[in-house]
Symmetry: C2
Subunit: 144 residues, 2 copies
């Protein structure tokens, strides 16, 4: 099992949440992903590979709890649905290119960008907790 899945399960237990097969399934599915998923994709993925699948409501509740513990980040790329992805403290922070035609998400990293954001965050009057950079456009196949 991946580090993140273990970490997430431990953190949830320590937060006083009870163990449940459904939440485990959500955590494990997220742990396998390399990029952000929509709630719908998570629900589908769960139903496809394991029973008991979790109900839609349970998926949303699990994601809400994971987000509250900052184990997953919720991000809005437009298109009307939120995306969720594991927060892996060991890895570099990354951001996303989103194809406004087909919805495809592609991650990217950039040190200079990250540095600029950190500087802005520190100098802001807000207490900044998270940030999202979303580049909108057309992916290769859609722009062809």
């Amino acid at each position: 099992m991946s580090d993140w899945a273990t970490h997430a399960k431990t953190a949830m237990r320590e937060a006083g949440l009870r163990h449940s097969a459904q939440r485990d399934a959500v955590v494990e599915l997220l742990a396998r992903q390399t990029c952000a998923l929509s709630a719908q994709q998570i629900d589908d993925g769960l139903r496809r590979r394991r029973r008991p699948a979790a109900s839609r409501a349970t998926v949303y509740r699990a994601l809400e709890q994971l987000a509250a513990l900052r184990l997953v980040q919720r991000l809005d790329v437009g298109l009307g649905e939120a995306r969720y992805e594991p927060v892996r403290p060991d890895r570099d922070h990354h951001h996303h290119l989103v194809c406004d035609e087909c919805g495809q998400l592609t991650p990217f990293e950039d040190a200079a960008l990250e540095q600029a954001i950190d500087r802005v965050s520190r100098s802001a009057s807000f207490s900044v907790q998270e940030h999202d950079v979303v580049l909108h456009g057309l992916c290769d196949s859609c722009s062809a």
Copy 2:
């Protein structure tokens, strides 16, 4: 009347759209704003200061047309609703701090950030058309 409002109206006429009091009202309301508004805020603002106010559907349709002509930018800051703001080509591009508690939006600019994004955009396999940087956190009053 502001430059932008004139520019927007001209562009709409040249795009073959017919003139209408409702659309003018939306354009003029947006022209007065300094930061992004939600559709709800636009609708309220319209109803408050001028009749004929436009129906909700008309506001959304106007915003859609303005966005298609790239006269306004639509942005998603989470919280379940989209925000819209005029695109003023003469001004520097800006981004937003959003308070996750009260929803307050504060704009900021940063040249280095913009530069980093441009570089990433050019090197991406996507054809990037727009970008949003959203810093989430708590504003002064909410973090107190």
